[in-house]
């Protein structure tokens, strides 16, 4: 279990975890909700793929790796929609846009 | 493993306390959803994935959303009563 693939997997895992932890802490440090909303992006488009690469390197191509990739892909696809919907509600509640503005 | 279970249990306890300590029902629903997620984490950590699945469906999605629906409906009915007494919507 000490081949180069295992080492690379550990490096990717460490980097991905570091990105996710840093983003969560940065979101906590921001004061305004609009600023916090931006920290969802690095988690889903940088941290999650790094973790997926680590899992694929560790497991090799197979059903497990495929399911890991599917989960991370769904995560990366759904996060922008969630961010946009949340930003819309924030703006509506702040009175910045009308309720019937296109979503 | 023991450390993971301990951290998960602590988080469940902390978020549960926050749910109880939150007064506004709208805010409580959001924290309740987070509490369901924490319980899911705990159940998978103690290797009970089927329990975690049911908890995910009920605790993290269904109950908070039904709470939100109920609050919204009650608010709307109250507002309707003030304006037009006896108005029966739908």
């Amino acid at each position: 279990m000490t081949g180069p693939a295992h080492i690379a997997a550990l490096v990717c895992e460490t980097a991905g975890t570091a990105v996710v932890v840093a983003s969560a802490l940065a979101a906590l440090a921001m004061r305004r909700a609009y600023n916090r909303l931006h920290f969802l992006t690095p988690v889903t488009s940088l941290g999650a793929p790094l973790i997926a690469v680590a899992l694929v390197l560790e497991n090799g191509w197979g059903l497990t790796a495929g399911l890991d990739i599917l989960i991370v892909l769904l995560l990366a696809l759904s996060a922008p929609a969630l961010g946009a919907a949340t930003a819309r509600v924030l703006a509506q509640r702040a009175g910045l846009i009308d309720e019937d503005s296109p979503s | 493993m023991t450390v993971l279970i301990a951290v998960a249990l602590t988080l469940v306890a902390a978020i549960g306390a926050v749910v109880v300590g939150t007064h506004s029902p709208e805010r409580q629903a959001v924290v309740l959803s987070m509490f369901g997620m924490a319980l899911t984490v705990l159940f998978v950590t103690v290797q009970a994935p089927d329990v975690a699945l049911s908890q995910l469906g009920v605790g993290a999605a269904l109950v908070p959303l039904m709470v939100m629906l109920a609050i919204r409906r009650i608010r709307r009915d109250q507002r309707g009563d003030e304006r037009r007494p006896g108005k029966d919507e739908e």
């Binding site: 899992l55 961010g83 949340t86 | 987070m34 997620m37 984490v41 699945l53 908070p64």
Partner: protein, 87 residues
Amino acid sequence: MNAWLIGALALLAGAFAPAALLTARGEPTDRLIGLEIGGVVVVLFLLLLIQGLGQPSYLIVPLVTVLVSFAGTLVFTRLLAPTADER
């Protein structure tokens, strides 16, 4: 404790706890952002935990978590939007 479980522990203590703290303060919409970050972090935590436990059959749990948290948060944004007679 292998490397995957240590990574999972780091995610749980370092990323899920801040997200939970975000859901504990402020307006309902502010808390919603914490819920979104928490949902993503839970999925990644479960991926690492399942790898560390060596139980790939558990992977159905993070898969369902992605779908449930996506649908749930979208419905939350619908219900938290102000209604027409509130303004």
